[in-house]
C-alpha cells in the first residue's frame, strides 16, 4: 500500500469528514431553542426529554427496534440455511441463487418500495408491521448472506470430516465445529441486519400506514414540517446505540471480519 502524501492527505481528510456530521448532530441536540443550529446557543436536555415523553416517538422507536431485531435474526437464520445448502450445490444453481439473494443491492430503493407496495396491497398487508418486516428481510438478505457465506468458505472442508471420524454425527459436527467457526460471519450478519433495517427510510416510506410507522420515517416526516432539535436528539441516541452495539459485538466475538480475516496467519508462532 503506497503511503505517499496524496494517500495520507486523503486518509486524514476522511478521518475529519467521517465524524463531522456526528459532531453537528450531537451538538445541535443540546440546543435549548426550537431550531436546529450549530454551534448550539446553550446546553439543555430539553429535546431528549421531549423524545422520551412523546408516545408517538417512543412507539416509532419500539416498532423500528422490533422490526430491526426480527429482520436481523430471521435473515441471519435464512442466510445460514442458504449458505449451508448452496455450499454443495451445483455451481450453476449456486450462482443463480446468489444472484437472487444479492439482487436487492442492484435496484434503487424507490423502485423496490413501489414494488413491495404493490405486492403488499395485493396481500392486504400494506401499512402493517409485517409488511415492513417482509420488505426489510429482503433488503437485509445480501448483507446477511455475504459474511456468512464468506465465513463458511473459510472453513476447511476437512474439519467437519475430522469431527465425523472422531465420532460426531451431522448434528454434533454442526453445533460443535461449523457453528462456532461461523461466529464472526453470524455476528456481522446480525449487526448489519439490525443497523440496515433500523436505518431504512426509502422503502419503509412507501409501506408505513396510519397505524404503524418506523422511526426513520417519522424523523423524515418531522423534518419536512419543522426542523426542531428533537430529531437531533433522537439521532444522537441512535448513534450512541449503534456504537454500543458495535462495541458489544466486538467484545463478544471480535469484529475481525470487518478488519482482517487473516489474523491467525499473522500471529507469531510460539
Amino acid at each position: 500500500m503506497p503511503t505517499g502524501f496524496p494517500t495520507r492527505a486523503l486518509a486524514i481528510l476522511l478521518l475529519i469528514l467521517l465524524p463531522a456530521p456526528l459532531v453537528i448532530v450531537v451538538g445541535a441536540s443540546f440546543s435549548p431553542r426550537a431550531l436546529l443550529e450549530f454551534p448550539p446557543p446553550g446546553f439543555s436536555w430539553r429535546w431528549y426529554l421531549e423524545f422520551l415523553s412523546t408516545p408517538a416517538w417512543l412507539t416509532a422507536f419500539g416498532v423500528s427496534a422490533a422490526i430491526a431485531l426480527a429482520s436481523a435474526v430471521l435473515t441471519t437464520l435464512a442466510a445460514l440455511g442458504a449458505a449451508l445448502a448452496l455450499q454443495d450445490a451445483p455451481s450453476r444453481l449456486r450462482a443463480a441463487a446468489e444472484t437472487a439473494i444479492l439482487a436487492p443491492l442492484l435496484f434503487p430503493h424507490a423502485a423496490l418500495g413501489i414494488g413491495f407496495l404493490g405486492w403488499l396491497i395485493l396481500a392486504e398487508m400494506n401499512g402493517t408491521g409485517w409488511g415492513i418486516l417482509i420488505a426489510h428481510l429482503v433488503l437485509c438478505a445480501p448483507f446477511a448472506y455475504r459474511p456468512i457465506a464468506v465465513s463458511l468458505a473459510q472453513i476447511d472442508r476437512s474439519l467437519p470430516e475430522a469431527a465425523t471420524i472422531l465420532g460426531a454425527g451431522p448434528g454434533q459436527t454442526f453445533w460443535r465445529i461449523t457453528l462456532p467457526l461461523l461466529q464472526p460471519g453470524i455476528a456481522a450478519s446480525l449487526l448489519f441486519g439490525f443497523i440496515i433495517s433500523f436505518d431504512e427510510v426509502t422503502v419503509s416510506m412507501f409501506l408505513v400506514g396510519p397505524e404503524v410507522t418506523t422511526l426513520p420515517v417519522t424523523i423524515y416526516a418531522r423534518l419536512n414540517d419543522s426542523a426542531d432539535p428533537v430529531v437531533a436528539a433522537i439521532s444522537s441516541i441512535l448513534i450512541l446505540l449503534t456504537a454500543g452495539l458495535v462495541l458489544l459485538m466486538d467484545r463478544l466475538v471480535g469484529l475481525r471480519i470487518f478488519v482482517d480475516v487473516e489474523e491467525e496467519g499473522r500471529r507469531p508462532a510460539a
Binding site: 476437512s158 474439519l159 469431527a163 465425523t164 471420524i165 465420532g167 460426531a168 491467525e264 500471529r267
Partner: protein, 345 residues
C-alpha cells in the same frame, strides 16, 4: 509391556472406485494383519488418498468389500468404523485448545470427566506435548501440530489408524525425528497403521509391509526386502530404488542367456567397479559418463563398450577414487544374485 495386537485386521477385496472414466482405485485386494505398519506408496495421483478415504468411509467404493475384524464396513458411516484418520493438512480445530482438540472424540463418547482428563493426559504424555495443553492451535509449531493430530486420533484407540502423508509438510530433520516417533508410537499402541506416502525411503524404512500403487492398481504388497529383492513388476523395480533393468538382447554381450520374455534387475549397489569387478562372474569395460560422490558412496553412470543403455553403479568412495568423467573402468556383477521380471509386467 507392549500390548499384543488382537484387533485391526483389515481385509480389502477387489475394491474399485472410478471418477468418470478415471479408475482412481482399480481392483485392490489387501490383507493387513493386526498391529501391522503398512505403507501405501505410489506416485502422485495413483489413488492412495482415494483408497484411504474409502477405508475411512468418506468415499464409497463402486465395487469390492472391506472387512475390519470380521465386520463388513460397507454402509457404515465414518463415525461408526473404529477407524482413525490423520489428515494430510491435519484438520485441527482452530477454535479449540490442544486439550479440547484431543478430548473432542472422548466427549462425544460421553465418557466421565475424570476418565477424559486421564486419557487426555496420557495421550499428551504419549506424544510429549506436556506444557502446551492450553495453547490454541495457531500458537503451535508444525511438529507440535502434528503431534496434536496424532494424539487426537490415538486417544480413541482405533483398531486402524490411517495417516495421509502426515509428514510431508515438515522439513527433513523434523521429518526423520517424527518418523522414529511414529514407529515407536505404533509399537506402543499396537494399533494397525496405514501410512500413505510417496517417499519410497520413508515407506521402506518405516513399514512392516509396503503396498505399491500405480494408476489405481496394486502393483505389489510385501516387505521392504521383498519389494527391493523381488520386485513384481518393472514399475516396482524402478519406483523402489534405482535399478538397471535389462532384457536378453542387452545382456547377450555379457554372455548371459535369459529365457525369453524375461528381464533382469541389477541393483546399482550389486555392481562392482574397477579392481573389485575382477571377482564378478560377468564384467565389461566402459567409460565413466557421470560420477556423483554422496557421503561415503559414489554413484556412477557408465557407458559400457558396445552397449547403448547406460549402467548405474553404486560403490564405496574409495573404490571410485581416481575415477572421473571420461575415465575407463570395468563394471562387473553376479547375474545369479539379480532378480528377474516377466517382460510386460
Amino acid at each position: 509391556m507392549l500390548p499384543t495386537p488382537t484387533s485391526g485386521r483389515l481385509l480389502l477385496d477387489t475394491v474399485s472406485r472410478s471418477f468418470g472414466a478415471l479408475k482412481a482405485v482399480d481392483g485392490v485386494s489387501l490383507d493387513i494383519a493386526p498391529g501391522e505398519f503398512v505403507a501405501f506408496l505410489g506416485p502422485s495421483g495413483c489413488g492412495k488418498t482415494t483408497l484411504l478415504r474409502i477405508i475411512a468411509g468418506f468415499e464409497r467404493a463402486d465395487a469390492g468389500s472391506l472387512i475390519l475384524d470380521g465386520r463388513p464396513l460397507t454402509g457404515l458411516p465414518p463415525n461408526k468404523r473404529d477407524v482413525g484418520l490423520v489428515f494430510q493438512n491435519l484438520a485441527l480445530f482452530p477454535h479449540l485448545t490442544v486439550t479440547e482438540n484431543i478430548s473432542f472424540g472422548l466427549e462425544l463418547r460421553r465418557e466421565s470427566a475424570p476418565e477424559i482428563a486421564r486419557k487426555v493426559e496420557e495421550a499428551i504424555a504419549l506424544v510429549a506435548l506436556q506444557g502446551l495443553e492450553r495453547r490454541r492451535i495457531q500458537q503451535l509449531s508444525g511438529g507440535q501440530k502434528q503431534r496434536v493430530a496424532l494424539a487426537r486420533a490415538l486417544v480413541l484407540h482405533p483398531s486402524v489408524l490411517l495417516l495421509d502423508e502426515p509428514l510431508s509438510a515438515l522439513d527433513l530433520k523434523l521429518r526423520r525425528q517424527l518418523q522414529q516417533e511414529l514407529k515407536t508410537l505404533q509399537r506402543r499402541t499396537g494399533a494397525t497403521f496405514v501410512f500413505v506416502t510417496h517417499d519410497q525411503e520413508e515407506a521402506l524404512s518405516m513399514a512392516d509391509r509396503v503396498a505399491v500403487f500405480n494408476q489405481g492398481r496394486l502393483e505389489q504388497f510385501g516387505t521392504p526386502q521383498a519389494l527391493y529383492g523381488q520386485p513384481a513388476s518393472r514399475f516396482v523395480a524402478e519406483f523402489v530404488g534405482d535399478a538397471n533393468i535389462r532384457d536378453a538382447a542387452q545382456l547377450a554381450p555379457f554372455g548371459i542367456t535369459l529365457p525369453p520374455e524375461t528381464l533382469l534387475v541389477i541393483r546399482p549397489e550389486d555392481c562392482a567397479i574397477g579392481a573389485a569387478a575382477d571377482a564378478a562372474p560377468v564384467r565389461r569395460e566402459g567409460t565413466v559418463d557421470a560420477i556423483d560422490f554422496i557421503g561415503p558412496h559414489a554413484r556412477l553412470r557408465l557407458i559400457l563398450d558396445g552397449l547403448a543403455e547406460p549402467w548405474l553403479a553404486l560403490c564405496s568412495g574409495s573404490a571410485a577414487a581416481g575415477l572421473e568423467v571420461g575415465a575407463r573402468s570395468v563394471l562387473g556383477f553376479d547375474p545369479a544374485g539379480a532378480a528377474t521380471l516377466k517382460a510386460g509386467a
